[in-house]
Symmetry: C2
Subunit: 77 residues, 2 copies
DNA sequence: CGCCCGATTTATCACTTGATATATCATCCA
DNA sequence: TGGATGATATATCAAGTGATAAATCGGGCG
């Protein structure tokens, strides 16, 4: 349960939840598509500012994904 | 009126407007103090995500700083 | 089958950032 | 005077990022 791997899965699951391509998902978060791809493939992990955006997006998806949020961020939604 | 220089001034003016040290200002924006220092001294410029935070902070300061916003971001507050 | 086409994966390079350490500067005050 | 302290400036290095290009992977479809 390596941290990199968890983040990779979180990002991919989150993106698939939104039904967006890596390119559009990147735009949604204010980053570029290679960045999303690197996150999803565990070759990099989100910067602090990017993490904020991810949490915020997760939150915006509402309670039905609160479980997901807890799983990856631990400390409450 | 080099772009780097304008951003440097914007960041410093904005920080002084808030009355915060570079360290606290950094925390406010979700970045670290060396980053703020590099911005203010023109040795680096904000990443896209950081720029969002700057604009947002500027906006949160309200209308009395709209002029400042226009000066540095050009396209309306 | 073979060809397009959208999506994904990987790679490279210059630049930004976080973490950390050191140095400089100003101010206060014993 | 001179030392303590807070704020700022600068440097280094590893890691993340944006821009760009190339390769690969599916599906549809002629």
């Amino acid at each position: 349960m390596d941290e990199q791997y968890s983040m990779a899965r979180l990002v991919r699951e989150l993106r698939e939840l939104t039904g967006l391509t890596q390119e559009k998902f990147a735009a949604r978060l204010g980053v570029t598509f290679p960045t999303i791809n690197r996150w999803e493939n565990g070759r990099a992990k989100p910067s602090p500012l990017a993490l904020e955006k991810i949490e915020s997006l997760l939150r915006s998806l509402g309670d039905k994904d609160e479980a997901l949020h807890k799983v990856y961020f631990g400390k409450e939604a």
